[in-house]
């Protein structure tokens, strides 16, 4: 019974269990909304349960190797197999996707965005979960591509149906950008396949043999992959879909997008593009670094110019992903460690920020920074949570954000030998300035909306020091909604908040997982 001994079924079950939930929900009538929500939540919890079980089975001493490997025939005609496995890089992201899905389901219990229809909404979310988890465990390029694309349609509908006013434009833009990227990526995958002798699509095989391709060809193949992954990250100048998508997406969509979907791109760089095409990676690294620091500064300046809270957080994602990409572009073990940590930290923190933004929108029906004020007085818990996330996001030591950002900057001091130190040290200085800007826009955001007195239109008045909301004299539609953090929100948010502190205080929990896996990749590029 090899199957039982190796436990290599856990990954398949963890990935496809959400689809079982979808099947069940398919047969429950649309009107049974509570039942739908319950089934979706139970499915997500069960999936997470499988994930936790995976965590307990994972051999932490061998985090650098693929574990739970399963390989079976899938499309033998084109030499693609169903080949999955999990190492120290995949594991945190794989689990992150499951945690986020559960939390989003809990949040959805009383936050189904208009126009309702929880059945379709939650089914899409479960399909999304399968796509995300599957991407992180695929060890075959075609399988990777299928999962990578599987997330597209659910997200498209999530933004397009349940989004804000400009949702149709935003969803189409999101879709066309990503699809353009992945079409070129697929061509690059196929070129790589043929250039390595048309033997196999297995990632380990291609990592082993990709390096033998002539450098010139590598550079071109890398270009195709670069566009595919850079659109997803998103890197400057392919980022323009992101602010629109984030602003228009429902809260749940924004959270999943920020916490997991963006990581599919950076993960692709680390797992596929760089180890398979090492010569091209060295050739491209300075340009990737350049685009990364442009992203950092551009994102930060963009944040300073925003008047909408959600849009501001979206731009801050561009800046944060810039740090991740800077770490990756150094091609060193140190930099990639920072990058993977940064991916997880950004997932927790920015996911949380979007949750808060969604709840602010629920209460105030606006996210315009100029109209919000005095949250600390009106909804103190919510405002403190926001303050906490802001601190985490700007990279305060002791919280998770720090360990993604600071080492990434530091790693640029000594990039892989062969890369220009001067160039990367310039990048380092620019990136460091980016952190100052980050502190500026985040604290300024917090100041503007949390400090001061609540605005009269939301039931606050300059004369009312307490800011309580029992003003029957100027009652309006908004201020009745303004209440502090609800139970569902507490339940959904606490794990994220704990995670931010936990990984901030004990970063080694993650680093010891990531490091061996990253080291295995860096040896491929001769680091």
């Amino acid at each position: 019974m090899d199957i039982l001994r190796d436990h290599n079924w856990v990954l398949s079950v963890g990935t496809f269990l959400p689809l079982a939930g979808v099947l069940v929900m398919l047969f429950i009538p649309k009107v049974e909304e509570q039942l739908q929500k319950a089934v979706a939540l139970i499915t997500a919890l069960a999936t997470l349960g499988v994930g936790v079980y995976t965590l307990t089975l994972f051999n932490y001493d061998r985090a650098g190797e693929m574990q739970f490997v399963a390989q079976t025939n899938w499309i033998s005609v084109i030499k693609s197999t169903y080949y999955i496995g999990l190492d120290g890089i995949s594991l945190p992201l794989y689990i992150l996707s499951m945690v986020i899905t559960v939390l989003v389901m809990i949040y959805s219990w009383d936050h189904i965005p208009s126009p309702g229809n929880p059945k379709a909404f939650l089914m899409l979310m479960l399909v999304l979960q399968t796509g995300m988890a599957g991407t992180f465990i695929s060890q075959d390029l075609i399988l990777f591509f299928v999962f990578f694309e599987l997330v597209l349609l659910p997200m498209y509908f999530m933004i397009g149906v349940w989004g804000g006013e400009n949702r149709q434009y935003a969803s189409l833009k999101f879709f066309l950008y990503t699809m353009f990227g992945s079409a070129l990526m697929l061509v690059a995958f196929l070129a790589l396949f043929f250039k390595t002798g048309a033997e196999s699509f297995a990632i380990p095989y291609l990592v082993e043999n990709g390096g033998a391709i002539a450098k010139n060809t590598q550079v071109w193949i890398f270009a195709g992959m670069f566009i595919g992954f850079a659109v997803k990250v998103p890197m400057f100048p392919f980022h323009t879909w992101l602010p629109d998508a984030h602003t228009q997406a429902p809260t749940q969509g924004s959270v999943i997008l920020a916490a997991v979907l963006l990581k599919l791109g950076t993960y692709g760089f680390i797992r596929i593009a760089i180890p398979m095409l090492p010569d091209a990676a060295r050739e491209w690294a300075p340009y990737i670094g350049l685009l990364a620091v442009i992203g950092i500064i551009y994102g930060a300046l963009g944040c300073l110019a925003q008047t909408d809270m959600k849009r501001l957080i979206a731009f801050s994602s561009v800046a944060h992903m810039g740090f991740v990409m800077l770490g990756i572009s150094t091609l060193t073990s140190f930099g990639m460690n920072a990058a993977v940590f940064g991916m997880v930290a950004h997932g927790l923190i920015t996911g949380m920020l979007f949750f808060v933004a969604g709840s602010v929108k629920d209460r105030y029906h606006t996210l315009e920074i100029a109209r919000l004020s005095g949250l600390l007085k009106q909804v103190p818990h919510l405002a403190w949570i926001l303050g906490f996330c802001v601190m985490a996001s700007l990279g305060l030591p002791g919280l998770a954000g720090f360990w993604g950002e600071f080492p990434a900057i530091l790693s640029a001091y000594s990039p892989l030998s062969g890369l220009s130190e001067v160039t990367f040290r310039v990048y380092m200085v620019i990136a460091a300035m980016g952190t100052v800007l980050a502190a500026a826009y985040l604290l300024w955001l917090f100041q503007r909306i949390a400090f001061g007195e609540p605005k009269p239109e939301f039931g606050g008045s300059t004369s009312d020091a307490h800011g309580h909301h029992d003003h029957s004299d100027h009652d309006d539609a908004h201020h009745n909604d303004i209440h502090d953090v609800t139970v569902y929100e507490w339940v959904a948010w606490t794990p994220l908040l704990i995670g931010i502190v936990l990984f901030g205080v004990m970063p080694n929990l993650l680093f010891k997982l990531i490091d061996p896996a990253v080291a295995a990749i860096v040896t491929q590029i001769g680091g």
């Binding site: 499309i75 084109i78 694309e149 149906v161 697929l186 061509v187």
Partner: protein
Amino acid sequence: MLSTLFAAADWVAPTVDYHAIAPEIIVAAGICVVLLADLFIADRSKWLLSTVAGFTLLGAFIPVLTLGLSDEGTRSLFDGRYVIDDFSIVLKGLFLLSAYVIVLLSTTHIEEGDYYQGEYWVLMLSSILGMLMMTSSRDLVSIFVALEFLSIPAYMLAAWRKRDAKSNEAGVKYFLLGVFASAVLLYGMSLLYGVANSTLLSDLASEMSGQLTSIRVLAVVFVVVGFAFKVSAVPFHTWAPDTYEGAPTPVTAFLSVASKAAGFVALVTVLYVAVPGSSDVWQPLIWVLAALTMTVGNVMALRQTNIVRMLAYSSIAQGGFILMPLAVAAEGNSSAAVLRSVVTYLIVYAATNLGMFGIILAVSRKTRSGEVASFGGLFSYAPGIGALATIFLASLAGIPPLGGWIGKFSAFQAVLEAGTTWGYVLAVIGAVNSVIAFGYYGNVMREMWMRPVPNGDTSAIATPAPIKLALGITGLATLALGILPGVALHFGDIAVFSSAFGG
């Protein structure tokens, strides 16, 4: 002259392998049964005819199965002019199953149409018989006969609604351009015969290689152009949008799937078996046709507001994707991968496109409109049909894990396998086109999911049982082919000619 007549007196009947041509015989018998039954049964019992037609097709599928499972290998009849090899068996299966789905789609439409039901089924079956013959024809004459056999009933089917001006226009346009294409093709074939002094395709192969003479170039160009009309490749596509829009919707489904596939079968047969040696001529020609067909089809589809017209242009663009690998079919070792990709694409395209026509038939029963806008809010009041339509559209757009992606994937794979610069350029054009295509497929999805219901009419859609069955079959096939792409690819892989450079 006289001597040939006398020689005919010594004619000996060839031995016929009846098992090999059993599918054709069963369909031919079905045609006779429907024709005769139509004369004698009362109007209210005419529904029987569609049942007979459906069972004829399923009955004909049985010998296809037994032929496929038999160990005898290639069966060659009439001196190699009619060959039952793996290629023909796979495609016969495809034609019969698609035709069965088309019968399901047609049944209600035809019964409610007050037109000549019996004749409809006779023509439909005749056209399918032509397609079955096409898959096995390995001789210029039998190819031409099969082509006319499948085309002439189709001209009449397009003009089925005879009191409708648009339907008449559809039929006449299709007929005139189709006949013109036949003439061009025939001229090319006569040149081929002139060069080789034989109509047998395998005889042509040896004569049509080597030195490029002007007569060879002309012959190949005329033949390819003749088929280009049939598969509505740009710039020979002009009949398609009008014909598709004017013809009754089930007939449009038939034309855009089965008839088009038959055109590709003929094209591939001639290219692979008769003129592989002239690839210097047809490869560049097909390269240009493929690039133009994909691009023009997509760009024109973006502008359509009528869904059938949009699907017409979409099917032109899809044809470009099927043509794409043929542009490098003779480079290196790519010929097998190219043939596989063409057959695979035809299989997934048939499943998906028929499904989409089923959706249009179901929705238009309620909305009585062919506008894209009539799909507004479909998901909110008919989630089942809305979800299925989304699956079909996403599959047409080539999004994994739905059937269409494996078609696109294998096409890209075949083009890149050739490893030529022209191949890479074409692949990039194809990649850009697959993004453009989402523009109009996504537009329909947007209507269904994100736009309000026109007129606020949210009454449920009553889908007749045959259409439900057809939607079920095609929906399942679209999903299954995408998740287990090995199935389609397997059939694509075994579908090789018995004697060709792909085999």
